[in-house]
Amino acid sequence: MILFAYALCAVSALILIAFSRTHQQLNTIAIGQGVLYLAITAYVLFCVHIPVETFIVGSGYFFIDHLGLFEVMVATIIFSLSAIYARGYIENLLVSGDLETGSLKLFYAAWCLLELVIVLAFFSDNLALFWIFAEMTTIISAMLVAILSAKENIDAALKYIFVASVAMLFAFVGLIFLFEISRSTSGNGTLNWTILMQHASVFPPGMVIAAFAFIFIGFAAKSGIFPFHTWLPEAHAKAPSAVSAILSGVLLNVGIYGIIRVFAIVDQTTAVAAVTPMLLLFGILSIAIAAISMLPEKNLKKLIAFSSIENMGILLVGLAVATPLAVFWVIFHVMAHAFTKASLFLSAGILHRQYRSQLSADAPDDIHDVFRFQPLAAWGIILGGLAIIGMPPFMVFFSKFFILLSLGSVSLWTLALVLVLIFIATAALGYFVIRMFGRVTPPGESVDLVPYLTPLSMKAPIVILLSIILILGIMFPAGGSAFISQIVTELKF
């Protein structure tokens, strides 16, 4: 029933989109869908007993457990806020000619469909079904990247599709392995996650390592882990900022969610000893490559995109520790990173509209007098930047702190290495902000720049996201920690 409600919302949104004329109407539909999804999720969260066992849910294809609900909640919040942001942002893209009016319906249809597919992906119990939905999210979000009528966008979208889809095929080979494992151990093969978790302890370790390695390739590419991260900076930087926020805040989570689920199965077997060093290695490599690429970066959105790679690396490192405490903070970091990164991309979108380069999207940003023209976006970048590097009292501070603390209990040298790399990334971000925001035209000289009148609909989501990460950082509700503890228990760490 619950899934029907989600699907019904999306279908009616698509029908309404087909009949609406103006951008205002289209955007209102997208916001409406986001808010409705949020309402349904809140209803499930507070009024329904989890895990849900109803008609379609619980039939072996779909289920609602705490982790899925958690991810859906994060996703719907970001979707709703990005839809509100898009009201002003897309309007401006239309005025400036970056987006053709003809593509508008396609854009919003893809937007609404993406939201539905992501919800279904998070509620899939069958791993093959999850694979299909994850693959669909790649295709639909690539459409959202390519929607701007520029050659770079189509290039970035194609690169995204090819890297992610090719890697996802490897994940499918891994799923076939997993299917064969369950068939040879329990008689009839299944890819149902709940059943796999029950039988995991008798799986042969050699096969499990092979299965995990293949599946990891696929989902690592979806979440931008080194060496499959090459598509990420391009796609995140070229996409419209409202879409960048979703790519970074929601779609990277889809990949990490897949890794968490499959790793939970591996954690039940003896193969875990061979798999954790692999996670640790790729996590550290991702942090390293992101930190080093961030140093010379002159494009704000690319810088933020590389910071996403860094955070995905931190998540892998936390997962590699595999203690209940570490996994608790990994789940927390998924949420903290999603909100913080979304706010950063939304702020960067305002600056991008103000200072966009006429030549190419690859050109370095020419940001100056930022506090005079866009004070809110500037403060959004500064506060969001402080939050993402892990300054207290923002949310990311706690998750980073405890993940690193758990890492320290495993190996002090690894901790030292990761700390140095995170420091480089932090320095790169700080250097960029100080250098760019410090450029002020002396008073008296004229500045030939038309101030971009930022509408309220673009400002409000940034303020809301920043307040969320601040308030949840200062006082995280007890129910929230109980909820995340419940996730860790269900994952059997």
């Binding site: 194609l158 690169k159 599709i161 095929l169 064969e180 068939r183 391009e234």
Partner: protein, 231 residues
């Protein structure tokens, strides 16, 4: 006439050789029209393998897989790509990215040996059905990796798409031999494949552009020019 098992063995072995030959052809050829035809031929070989398995094992799912592979991968997708090629008038993809055809072939040979050794270690205790199924799994994964070489070593998007399709054939072959997949999954993958191909071709060509614009957009096929190395 010998007994059915030996006959089945012989047939499957011949078909394996056909698959490997088509894969080698896809890696090395420069002519795009032949490329599509060879891909169709490779899919047809898979149909034959699925039919042979159906004849041997009698599972209806295998028949269903054979039919939908025939409809989509032998007829519809190659036809669609050939039409697109005709419209945008690309005949040859002579640019190889990092690898020359010879080194690609050598690398794929090496890959097959590596996969053979690794798989024989992993699968030895579980896959006791017979060496034929083991060979099927090895060739399946080799096909996946050979397709990946095509996807990453060619420059034009259409060739990349064909590399991806060839990878998918490898996954199907692996799935056929390693285990019995539920039909619904195979069907969903085909749907996914069709959407992906539609989208990539629409992106590269632009569905509503005029003929002059086709030529303007031709340069869009040169993806990842020098930016491949940049992270």
């Amino acid at each position: 006439m010998t007994d059915p098992a030996a006959f089945f063995n012989g047939i499957i072995k011949i078909l394996f050789v056909c698959v490997i030959i088509t894969a080698a052809y896809i890696i090395t050829t420069k002519n795009l029209i032949t490329l599509v035809r060879v891909y169709a031929l490779q899919s047809l070989t898979l149909v034959a393998i699925a039919l042979a398995l159906y004849w041997y094992e009698g599972t209806t799912i295998l028949l269903a897989i054979a039919i939908i592979t025939l409809v989509f991968k032998v007829i519809l997708i190659p036809y669609f790509i050939a039409t697109i090629q005709e419209k945008i008038r690309i005949k040859r993809d002579i640019e190889f990215h990092f690898l020359s055809p010879t080194s690609s072939l050598l690398i794929s040979l090496a890959l097959m040996i590596v996969i053979y050794i690794t798989l024989s270690r992993i699968l030895l205790d579980t896959l006791i059905k017979g060496s034929l199924f083991f060979f099927g799994a090895v060739i399946g994964i080799s096909l996946v990796l050979m397709g990946m070489i095509v996807t990453f070593s060619r420059k034009k998007a259409i060739t990349k798409v064909l590399g991806y399709l060839s990878m998918e054939n490898g996954v199907l072959l692996f799935g056929l031999f390693a285990t019995e997949l539920p039909f619904i999954i195979e069907f969903l993958i085909i749907i996914d494949l069709v959407i992906l191909i539609l989208l990539t071709t629409i992106l590269t060509v632009g569905i509503d552009s005029t003929l002059e614009e086709y030529h303007n957009r031709l340069h869009r096929f040169y993806l990842w020019e020098e930016r491949e190395e940049s992270p």
